[in-house]
Structure formats: structure tokens, C-alpha cells
Amino acid sequence: MVTLDLDTAWDLHPQVSVRPEPFGALLYHFGTRKLSFLKDRTLLSVVQSLSAAPSARDACTGAGISAADLPRYQQALGTLLASSMLVERAS
């Protein structure tokens, strides 16, 4: 299990496209030709705000995620990192 550092700045991999869907969103990585699914609209807002937020933690707070829910979202972002959907960004 990959753990994502919440206090680092992140961005979507440049080869990744995001398609919102009623249930959440679909992510496609043109380099690895892999799909990922976000099963939650809140997670989608987090992912979409990563590039402008100073850290993943800020992106989560901005999306209204409570401290209690944070670990779940951290884990979800870790899953995306493991499949190369996210990259570190110099903040």
C-alpha cells in the first residue's frame, strides 16, 4: 500500500484525463493505458483542486472533508499514486 504524504503538493500526471460521471469520475492514463474510477464526487473535487492547492491536505480541507474522513481520502489518493495517476509537484 502506497501512502501519500498529505503535506506535499501533488498534481495529476500530465498524461491523465479526468471524465466526471454521475457516480464520480473516470481517470485515464494515456501512457499506461489504464483506467481508474473515483467512486465519489468529493474525491473528484479533491483531485481537481490538487494542482492549485499548496498540499493534498489543503485540497481535502477545501473540499469540506472532516478530520475523521481524512484517512479514507488519503488512502484513496494513495491508490491513485500507486497507479501513477498522481505526481509530486514543487510547491
Binding site: 484525463s17 454521475p22 474510477f37 474525491l43
Partner: protein
């Protein structure tokens, strides 16, 4: 569900089994969400032409001859523009043999420029060393070579004489050019299931990925299904082989009816027709699934107003398909949750009720249903036969040369000239 190569269960963020995630935004498994359909397809097959150099006996689209109403280059580009707008990330291009379209590479390039990835299926006829080199240089294109036997004997029995050599030459060219991880796609039949390890060895040798899919009684496949579909006794071996090879072998999620043997196979266990899957055929008709070319599953045409998006999002047929599936005779089966009663197209073209068991139900209910089904001539026939009019040479082993009897008959009158304009020229009552 067919052709979806992703592994949503393994890769979804929040992919925990239903119920384990506490508190806020709920949802359960992807299959449950997908039952209601998506704004755009995930797994779109686009058959560019019905023309084909081969005449495989099990062709799902009954291909052979080009349809004169085929979409033009400009119409194809308009479809690509639309797919880009709808964020359809990639298409599976097939046919017929798509590479015989003179504008094939132009369309592939156009799709790549518009962020629509292409995986195309081919029998290999045009994969020369030059083409292989070109493909290596492109990020957006993936290739899938069809092979239905690990030996020429088994392959050519269904795909026709010379087709094994053509496929092997194409693979060699891709390998020599350094194209790693292209796909070798095998339709599993009674005859080739004993060769699974040999197929894997071929894939390993060419640094390719093996993809196994299910034979369905679609297109010309309806005529040979009885002869080619795996025996009940072979299904278990196939299931075990798939479990043992896990994620290393792609299946297009086409074997979910085998889940009833035990643990569910990786992938999406759901019939995706009209929900996440669809077909655009060479004349622009949109069907719920590439294996369901029949009026009953025709949702509309990309040439009509509103184009593909209108058909995908609003057609009556697709709306109807996007409701949770009812199990019918399968409801009481303990495996329904993963097997879902199997493949809609397989049931339809064998004349079984759509809400009952699959003809290859691993518990044997399909076979029972087949013996009890209505008269054979009421079974729906696939639409749109584009087969070559001159059938290919017989498939039976040991076919002999045809002996001709030459006769010497003297013409009673001079031969009729090609310019003769009398319609009764040469006619002797």
C-alpha cells in the same frame, strides 16, 4: 461485459467492498453503479469496414464485402471529434479488416491528434516491417492480432488457409520493431482450449500479452457455435487456467459466467451492453454491443441529428438497458451475484430468454434450456450479412483436388460477340 481491459475492482479509489466504507458518500460496488449507465461509454468498439481479406467462420460481424454506405473519411473524423468532446478516451477499432480501408492510417493519426487512443484488431495482413516501425513510434496506438489456434492446423480451420502464417509474420514484424506488449487475441473454442499453454508461450516469445475471449453465437458465429463452443467439461479447465494466470492474461471480462465455479474472476462482472459498452458499425449504426448486431439492439445512427452523443445518452433502447437486471430463472441461483445470468447476446442468438441462464451456464441449466427451447427456426438470426458471396474452400480435413472432366464439344455457331446488343443473342430454344 466485453473488452474492458481495466481492472476496476483492483484500481478504483474507494474500491472497498460494499459496506465496509463507513460514513459519508457511500457508494457500493462499481457494477451496481454501472448498471445505470455512464455519460459516455468506456468500451466503445468501432468497426470501420465490413470488408475483409479473410472469411473466418465465426466472424461476429459476418464480414467480407464492403458496404457501399460506409462512413466517409470526413464522417469518421466528425465521429472522432465527437468522441473527443465526450471524453471517450480510447476506441477499439475492428471490422472487417480495418487496415484495408485506404484512409485507415489517416484516421488513426486523426484520432491520436484528438486524444482518442486507438487499439485496433487486425489479422495482420498489413503489418509490414515499415508499418510496425511506425506503430512503435506512436504513443496512442495499440495493436491486437487475432489468432485462433496455436498451430496452423487449428487456426486455419476457422480463420482460413494462410491466416496463421499472416498473423505470425505480423507478430514477428512487431517484435523486430520493438513493439512491446501488443495483444494476441484468441477466441476460445473446443479445438484450441487444449492449446492455452502454447498460446501463452507464443505471447511470451513475442513479448506480447495474451487475451482470451469467449466465442459467442453472433454473426457467422451463430452457424458454427454448436461445433466450436467449448464443451461443458472444458469450461472448468479454462476457469482454473484463468484463475492461475490472473492479471497476466486479459479476458475483456468476457468469462464472468464462469464465476459460478468459485471466486469471481478479476474484472467487471456485468453485461455492459448499452451501459458502458457499445458498437458503431461501418455504416454508423449504433448497437448495444459488438456481439449483438440485430434490430432488437439497434439504438440509432451517428448520421442522425444529435449524432452519437444523442444515441448514447437518450436512445430508448439504451435507457431501457440501463435498469438493474432481473434474474428471471437465475434469481434463485446462489451465483447470480457474480454470474449475472451470463451474456445477453449468447442467450439471444441461441433463442433463450434474456432473463434466464446463459447457454453455457456452468450449472448446466443452459443446456437444459437449449433442449427445451422453442422450435429452432424461431431463433433470431444475426442481421447484416456481408459475407463474401463465393464461399471459401471447404474446411473439412482431407479435402481433395476437384477433378474436372474436359469435354470436346464443337460450337454449333460462332461465339457471341461481347458487343452483341440483342438480349437473346446466343439463345437457342
Amino acid at each position: 461485459m466485453t473488452i474492458l481491459e481495466s481492472r476496476p475492482n483492483a484500481r478504483s479509489a474507494f474500491g472497498a467492498p460494499a459496506g465496509t466504507a463507513a460514513a459519508p458518500p457511500k457508494p457500493g460496488r462499481l457494477v451496481d453503479l454501472f448498471e445505470y449507465g455512464l455519460d459516455s461509454p468506456i468500451c466503445l468498439t468501432w468497426e470501420l469496414t465490413y470488408a475483409c481479406n479473410l472469411s473466418c467462420v465465426h466472424c461476429l460481424s459476418s464480414s467480407g464485402r464492403r458496404d457501399p454506405r460506409e462512413l466517409t473519411t470526413d464522417e469518421c473524423k466528425a465521429v472522432i471529434d465527437e468522441l473527443e468532446r465526450m471524453q471517450v478516451f480510447y476506441v477499439n477499432i475492428g471490422g472487417g479488416e480495418p487496415t484495408v480501408r485506404p484512409d485507415f492510417w489517416e484516421l488513426v493519426d486523426y484520432a491520436s491528434e484528438h486524444h482518442v487512443g486507438v487499439k485496433f484488431s487486425t489479422n495482420g495482413v498489413k503489418i509490414t516491417p515499415e508499418v510496425a516501425q511506425r506503430l512503435v513510434d506512436s504513443d496512442y496506438v495499440d495493436v491486437q492480432i487475432s489468432l485462433d489456434g496455436a498451430t496452423a492446423e487449428v487456426n486455419d480451420h476457422v480463420r482460413g488457409p494462410g491466416s496463421y502464417d499472416t498473423a505470425m509474420r505480423a507478430m514477428q514484424n512487431l517484435f523486430d520493431a520493438g513493439f512491446e506488449n501488443f495483444k494476441i487475441s484468441v477466441v476460445c473454442t473446443r479445438q484450441n482450449l487444449p492449446q492455452l499453454d502454447e498460446f501463452k508461450a507464443i505471447a511470451d516469445k513475442y513479448k506480447a500479452q495474451l487475451r482470451l475471449t469467449r466465442l459467442r453465437p453472433s454473426g457467422r458465429g451463430a452457424d458454427v457455435w454448436e461445433e466450436l463452443h467449448p464443451l461443458a467439461s472444458q469450461q472448468r479447465g479454462l476457469y482454473d487456467w484463468l484463475v492461475a494466470h490472473g492479471d497476466n492474461v486479459l479476458t475483456g471480462d468476457s468469462f464472468f459466467h464462469l464465476s459460478a465455479y468459485g471466486e469471481a474472476l478479476p474484472g467487471l462482472n456485468l453485461c455492459g451492453a448499452g451501459r458502458v459498452v457499445c458498437l458503431i458499425d461501418p455504416v454508423g449504426d449504433v448497437y448495444a454491443c459488438p456481439f449483438a448486431i440485430h434490430d432488437d439492439f439497434l439504438a440509432g445512427n451517428v448520421r442522425s441529428e444529435g449524432g452519437f452523443q444523442q444515441v448514447w445518452r437518450h436512445s430508448d433502447l439504451f435507457q431501457k438497458l440501463r435498469t438493474p437486471q432481473t434474474g428471471g430463472a437465475c434469481t434463485s441461483c446462489g451465483f447470480f451475484d457474480t454470474c449475472r445470468g451470463g451474456c445477453m447476446a449468447a442467450k439471444f442468438f441461441t433463442g433463450l430468454p434474456l432473463d434466464g441462464p446463459d447457454p453455457e451456464c456452468v450449472r448446466g441449466f443452459g443446456e437444459d434450456a437449449l433442449t427445451k427451447r422453442k422450435e429452432v427456426d424461431s431463433i433470431p438470426k444475426p442481421d447484416g450479412d456481408h459475407s463474401h458471396r463465393i464461399p471459401r474452400e471447404p474446411r473439412s480435413a482431407g479435402s481433395r483436388p476437384v477433378s474436372l472432366t474436359l469435354s470436346l464439344r464443337r460450337p454449333e455457331s460462332p461465339p457471341v460477340s461481347a458487343c452483341e446488343d440483342n438480349p437473346l443473342a446466343g439463345f437457342r430454344p
